[in-house]
């Protein structure tokens, strides 16, 4: 408390942006966005318990342009947070931090798994929504 003039460590500005930094930022942002999404889950459950009119209001919101846009964003946020969270849990055990994993010449490396997390979350989101749109249009799925 009394020693306020200590030198501080440099903040984000001095670092070269790498995929793990994007993962960290996106994990927090998607987490915040998913907290809002959790309220949609609550709204849906409460509406279903309340009656047909309440449910139709909820269903109409979900089917609206804003609703679908938000649902797609929530789907990706969930899948990214999920994939990145799984990577987090593995790294919590100490996996992936040794020198060989951070060696760029090898795959999968520390950074390659990060890109995989992002790619898989985008691919799964596309898969889910293409499937939903195909089914809505009476298609093969």
């Amino acid at each position: 408390m009394s020693q306020t003039a200590r030198p501080t460590s440099p903040h984000l500005g001095i670092y070269r942006w790498r995929v793990n930094m994007w993962q960290s930022v996106l994990h927090r942002l998607t987490g915040l966005f998913l907290c809002v999404g959790s309220l949609l889950v609550a709204w849906g459950l409460i509406a279903a318990a309340s009656g047909a009119e309440a449910w139709s209001m909820f269903a109409a919101f979900c089917a609206s342009g804003i609703g679908v846009t938000l649902l797609i964003a929530w789907t990706w946020s969930l899948l990214f947070h999920l994939c990145n969270g799984i990577q987090h849990l593995f790294r919590d055990t100490g996996m992936g931090y040794d020198a060989a994993q951070r060696d760029h010449s090898r795959t999968p490396s520390y950074f390659a798994t990060g890109w995989m997390v992002i790619a898989v979350s985008v691919a799964l989101t596309a898969l889910v929504w293409i499937g939903l749109f195909l089914r809505a249009n009476g298609g093969a799925a």
């Binding site: 408390m1 009394s2 927090r28 987490g31 915040l32 998913l34 907290c35 959790s38 309220l39 889950v41 609550a42 459950l45 409460i46 279903a48 318990a49 309340s50 047909a52 449910w55 139709s56 789907t75 969930l78 899948l79 999920l82 969270g85 799984i86 987090h88 849990l89 919590d92 889910v128 499937g131 939903l132 089914r135 809505a136």
Partner: protein, 131 residues
């Protein structure tokens, strides 16, 4: 707070030595991981359940929620979800809100909001499943 030599010869180090870690140690970290592990299968299951109920009518939705296995998993989901979310929001508030009274107010609102939302969800699920 006080400079060295105010009224005693005690240094600041003497005052903090032996007090241990700041508050609760790894409890928060550990709970965040436990709820995360629970949410891995539960969130995938929720996505699958919701995808199956797109365009479903009201009666179908109620029947799906009220089915015993679904109702139990939904309760497990909302408990883990709002707990995990509250733990995450707590850290974000700790990181970015540096005015003490604002931080305290937000932390209380997050806790109350998450608890209230979880209770409301459980009540809704129970009403559908048992009603």
């Amino acid at each position: 707070m006080s400079a060295i030599g105010d009224d005693t010869l005690r240094t600041p180090l003497k005052n903090v030595r032996g007090l241990g870690s700041a508050q609760s140690g790894v409890r928060h970290w550990w709970l965040q991981r436990i709820t995360a592990v629970a949410l891995v299968p539960l969130s995938m299951w929720l996505l699958w359940l919701c995808a199956g109920l797109v365009h479903a009518d009201y009666a179908t939705v109620r029947a799906a929620i009220g089915q015993p296995v679904h109702a139990v998993l939904l309760v497990a989901l909302v408990v883990s979800l709002f707990w995990h979310g509250a733990l995450g929001l707590q850290v974000v508030i700790e990181d970015y809100i540096h005015t003490r009274w604002q931080e305290v107010v937000l932390q209380i609102l997050v806790r109350f909001g998450a608890f209230l939302a979880a209770v409301a969800c459980i009540f809704a699920i129970a009403r559908i499943a048992l009603g």
